[in-house]
């Protein structure tokens, strides 16, 4: 009798690659969250403490990331800056997602002329470079965290609105909506019970993918001097004020804040990508930066 044992094919390298990426992202995010949540209450150092005698010191044991041009400890300032960035990133992404979901669901659920009108407004907003629009909004307020959040939130709901609208349109045409209508469900009930739950996973994913983007915007606005007040620890401000010393050969005041912008955002994007692949395995994840 023939040997009927079955040997599963060996998995491709891609899968291990992916789990490595997810694992690394998770470890980085855990470290970042621990640092951001624990350092400010536990470490009794002042991120604003100036020590002109110790300015522009290279990384050492006392200052692992070195000091900046007025002698402030860079590691501490990086942690505080990341704290602000994460706050802005998460709140702005949530704001953008709530606006985008509401607009997209409204357009998709109403259909017809209302849909067309709303989506032309979305197109109109998309035609303006959103950093420019963001700068315009943030310039109307005093520097601070909230203007940055408002600015990023108000300029980043467009893609979410498009995603949610498309999803609602595709769900709306399915027979189970017909069945609900025939069963006596009101418009509101169809929207809340049948359409919205189908859209929420995708909206949640859009929110997470928006976080790195929002962090980059906060850094960009701060770099341009429009974000937070100049003395605050913000990664964008730190990169900006370190530019002059970079030319003198002092690399650490730009490198470390730069890494603190890039590495955590890539980690968030890595986790979001894994989530998207679970949600929709046929589509390869791409970064939304």
């Amino acid at each position: 009798m023939a040997d009927l044992t079955w040997h599963p094919a060996r998995s491709h390298g891609g899968r291990d690659h992916r789990s490595l990426r997810v694992g690394a992202s998770a470890v980085i995010m855990a470290a970042v969250l621990l640092a951001v949540l624990l350092v400010p209450p536990l470490v009794p150092m002042d991120a604003q403490a100036v020590d002109l005698a110790a300015k522009l010191q290279a990384p050492s044991l006392a200052h692992p990331f070195g000091t900046d041009e007025v002698g402030r400890d860079l590691l501490l300032r990086c942690v505080y800056g990341l704290r602000v960035s994460l706050l802005v990133g998460v709140v702005a992404a949530l704001t953008a997602t709530v606006i985008g979901t509401a607009v997209g669901a409204l357009a998709g659920a109403l259909g017809g002329w209302a849909d067309r009108a709303v989506m032309r407004v979305v197109d109109l907003f998309s035609s303006v470079p959103h950093l420019l629009l963001g700068i315009f909004i943030v310039a109307m307020f005093r520097p601070g965290v909230w203007p940055v959040i408002i600015s990023v939130g108000l300029t980043h709901w467009l893609s979410t609105a498009r995603i949610v609208r498309a999803e609602v349109l595709s769900l709306r045409g399915r027979p189970f909506v017909d069945a609900a209508v025939s069963g006596g469900a009101s418009r509101w009930r169809v929207a809340v019970r049948h359409l919205l739950p189908g859209v929420l996973p995708r909206a949640g994913l859009a929110a997470v993918l928006m976080v790195p983007h929002a962090i980059w915007h906060e850094s960009a606005l701060s770099f341009l001097g429009l974000g937070l007040p100049a003395h605050e620890a913000s990664l964008g401000i730190m990169v900006n004020s370190a530019r002059s010393s970079l030319l003198a050969g002092d690399w650490w005041p730009t490198l470390f804040p730069g890494l603190f912008i890039i590495v955590p955002t890539l980690a968030v994007a890595g986790l979001a990508g894994a989530w998207r692949e679970r949600l929709d395995p046929r589509r390869r994840s791409e970064l939304m930066l």
Partner: protein, 229 residues
């Protein structure tokens, strides 16, 4: 009486799939509508159930012309129809457990209290085991899901049943079981039935009268114009 009068309907005004069709179903009568795939009979079934607005024509239910379609039709008129669709997978909200799926029309009507009683009556009648009620659509077979969809269509005790290719996806024994459930319901309630399908043998055995699509429609889709565009 359910009267479809001179219905022209479709998804593009320039190219209707149903042209000038009239059809009547008397209370307690079972009418089979027989036609090939893609001829527009499902569209006509949706119009009859007030789920699709026709370009022209009217639907008269018990002497009262339907004032609107979908949400614009009054709730008690919409729920006078129990609709069973061809593909149970698409006709079931994938997030609802079968018990919620069947009871959903009762909840939408604010009659949640009756749900337990109606479920206890309907579930054995359509041949579902009580252990299936906690499962979601992807955890049951097509046949089991279609049984649940039939129970959902019956839960509000409709006066008219519209079965759009109800058994096309099912094997012979499930088909026989579901048709028996429909007939049992009609015998006790006197509901009228419009059964749409392409299985001539089934429809002729099931229904009092079978109408061929070609006889109804004035050359409805005999000359498709899609290729010209």
């Amino acid at each position: 009486m359910l009267d479809l009068m001179d219905i022209t309907a479709g998804y593009d005004r320039a190219r209707p799939v149903v042209r000038g069709v009239s059809l009547s179903v008397a209370p307690g009568e079972a009418v089979g509508l027989l036609g090939p795939s893609g001829c527009g009979k499902s569209t006509l079934a949706k119009v009859a159930a007030l789920l699709h607005r026709p370009d022209r024509g009217s639907v008269v239910v018990d002497g009262r012309a339907a004032p609107g379609w979908r949400h614009r039709a009054p709730r008690e008129l919409r729920t006078a129809f129990g609709v069973v669709f061809q593909q149970p997978r698409l006709a079931a909200d994938p997030r609802l457990r079968l018990a919620d799926l069947i009871a959903e029309p009762l909840r939408a009507a604010g009659r949640r209290g009756e749900a337990a009683e109606r479920l206890a009556e309907l579930v054995p009648r359509v041949g579902l085991g009580p252990e299936l009620l906690g499962r979601r659509p992807h955890e049951v077979s097509d046949g089991q899901l279609q049984r649940a969809c039939l129970a959902r269509a019956l839960v509000l005790r409709p006066r008219w049943l519209i079965c759009d290719e109800m058994t096309a996806m099912l094997d012979a024994s499930t088909t026989a079981a579901l048709v028996a459930v429909v007939e049992e319901y009609r015998a006790e309630s006197g509901a009228g039935l419009l059964a749409v399908g392409h299985d001539r043998v089934l429809l002729e055995r099931w229904c009092d009268r079978t109408v061929r699509w070609e006889a109804l429609a004035q050359h409805a889709s005999s000359r498709p114009r899609a290729a010209v565009r």
